[in-house]
Symmetry: C2
Subunit: 326 residues, 2 copies
């Protein structure tokens, strides 16, 4: 595969080239890894200034995430914006499942020529998922998308992983009784820029309004963050079903993004993220040495067998192994 | 500090020696790490055969975990058993909080001479939390406790971490509508040996019974595991408040543990756990090299600054750094 050619096609907006490129960065084969690196380098020189608004979006199953993305995405494409939807699903390592797997959940958006929807690959470990998703985001950015929605379910570390590759982080919630408020992990509240309470329609409208007020109150109690203008982080109600609140939410997101750009927080955040991913890549590569070199792998297995058999304690074996590695 | 002497006091059941030893293993100072290793080696020779029943216990805030531990623990000490309660709280890395921090939540149990309650240390990262907790478990085991309850909140990876150091893993749940069933992560259901639906009393009794039936149904749909006898994993109702169901749950836990011992699964599980911790310790030590050596740390910081400044991509910097490390 000619990566220079592929890069040009991506920058020209060819969807098939983009799809193939994402498949390439998702592969863990070492020749594919080298090609991916090549491709990203080419794209870096071809389209260095293309910058999408990267919106991280988290919500547990049942909050209506797919319907929200469908309605919100169609509103954006209706304004002439190009929208990419990517999914980050670290839980697939265990369950083998995949989110966004069923494009029929976003029937209209998936047929929209200004939208690009990519389900998450299944069966990979977290480190890999993060790197692949990050590279897929870079590909979509180079392809000229204006908005990239990075979807995740609220499982384990996935929210912080997604926040680390997003400019804005949005938490989608369902209307709920006051008791469930505490169910939102504090750490997640702390990284949210907006909380959208979905399903503010029909019988749930009043509950949604109350839930939103509860979240607003909770957000006001949080420590003030330097990268927020007055009024942020904020909670709002939306109805993906009726379309209510979507344009307002989008106006808020744009206002927030603009403010951060003007104040220098946008660049600062992207710099910090690049730093984070550099460190993470070093860590992942170090750990990969334990499994990639057959000799090292054999040593690990040898000690492992002794530990399992009780001849050696886990700590003693670890110390021996580390001596061999240094 | 004389670790040989400390080991003897621990084996003799001196609580103050145990408390001091746990503080020692919680420290990350390198001289304390060496002493901890010494201490654990001594204990390994002094009390090689002491084996507690390690029960991992997870439940989100609000399910009544503290009340359950209080009632369940008092029932066990009432039978003459010695009970240790430890907390594993990886989330403290972020929030700075600590679970079990307030012993008053377990007022009676904390005054019981046959019980030992240890809150989680705050402000440490996950790898460290796991190692420290595991070593605290080993200390309590050497101190002659019959049952060790290892408590965690359902946050991120903490449940699998706790399951990896437990013989049984119990999920404590609150009565809830059918819709919330899906809120339990599938991966957590897969590692649970028993699901206890708490608060099966007063107005919530009927809901608890229905919730329990729902979980029973969900458990029956799961893949059969070789290390389960007929009827396990199972869901039961308990009331920490009224004391209902606690003796039955304990009888179930004992029956399960006995069956696994007889069938060889108990030893097999402990072997696999030792293997897991060996690998984990090697991984953590490898990563520690990035931060402990001042020269390496300086190199990392140098690249990090270039990445943040945009002179170098995260991937290119990572590759350069890895060359320096090899």
């Amino acid at each position: 595969m000619n990566t220079a050619d592929m890069a040009q096609r991506i920058v020209a907006g060819e969807r098939r080239a983009l799809a193939r490129a994402i498949t390439l960065v998702e592969s863990s084969r070492s020749d594919h890894r080298a090609q991916s690196q090549d491709l990203l380098d080419h794209l870096g020189s071809l389209a260095p200034d293309r910058q999408a608004l990267r919106i991280g979006l988290s919500g547990t199953p049942g909050v209506g995430k797919s319907s929200f993305i469908e309605s919100f995405g169609l509103m954006l494409t209706g304004q002439g914006l190009k929208v990419a939807v990517l999914a980050v699903d670290p839980s697939s390592a265990r369950s083998g499942g995949s989110i966004l797997g069923d494009k029929t959940r976003m029937e209209e958006l998936s047929r929209d020529r200004n939208a690009f929807i990519r389900p998450s690959p299944s069966q990979t470990e977290l480190g890999g998922v993060a790197r692949r998703s990050r590279e897929a985001v870079a590909l979509c950015e180079a392809a000229g998308f204006d908005v990239i929605l990075i979807e995740t379910v609220g499982v384990g570390q996935s929210e912080t992983t997604v926040a680390e590759m997003s400019d804005l982080f949005i938490l989608l919630m369902a209307p709920a009784g006051g008791d469930e408020l505490q169910g939102v992990k504090r750490g997640i509240m702390e990284i949210a820029d907006m909380i959208l309470v979905n399903k503010a329609d029909g019988a749930l409208k009043d509950v949604a309004t109350r839930t939103c007020a509860d979240y607003s109150g909770a957000l006001r109690l949080m420590r003030k963050r330097v990268y927020d203008p007055e009024g942020f982080p904020k909670a709002c109600t939306v109805s993906a079903w009726e379309g209510h609140g979507l344009t307002e939410a989008w106006a808020d997101m744009q206002a927030l993004a603009e403010w951060r750009k003007t104040e220098g927080h946008w660049t600062h955040r992207r710099s910090n993220q690049a730093r984070h991913w550099f460190e993470e890549e070093v860590r992942q590569a170090l750990l990969a040495r334990l499994t990639e070199d057959p000799a090292v792998r054999a040593q690990m297995q040898g000690f492992s067998a002794e530990v399992a058999g009780g001849q050696l304690s886990a700590s003693a074996a670890a110390q021996n192994m580390l001596k061999l590695l240094s």
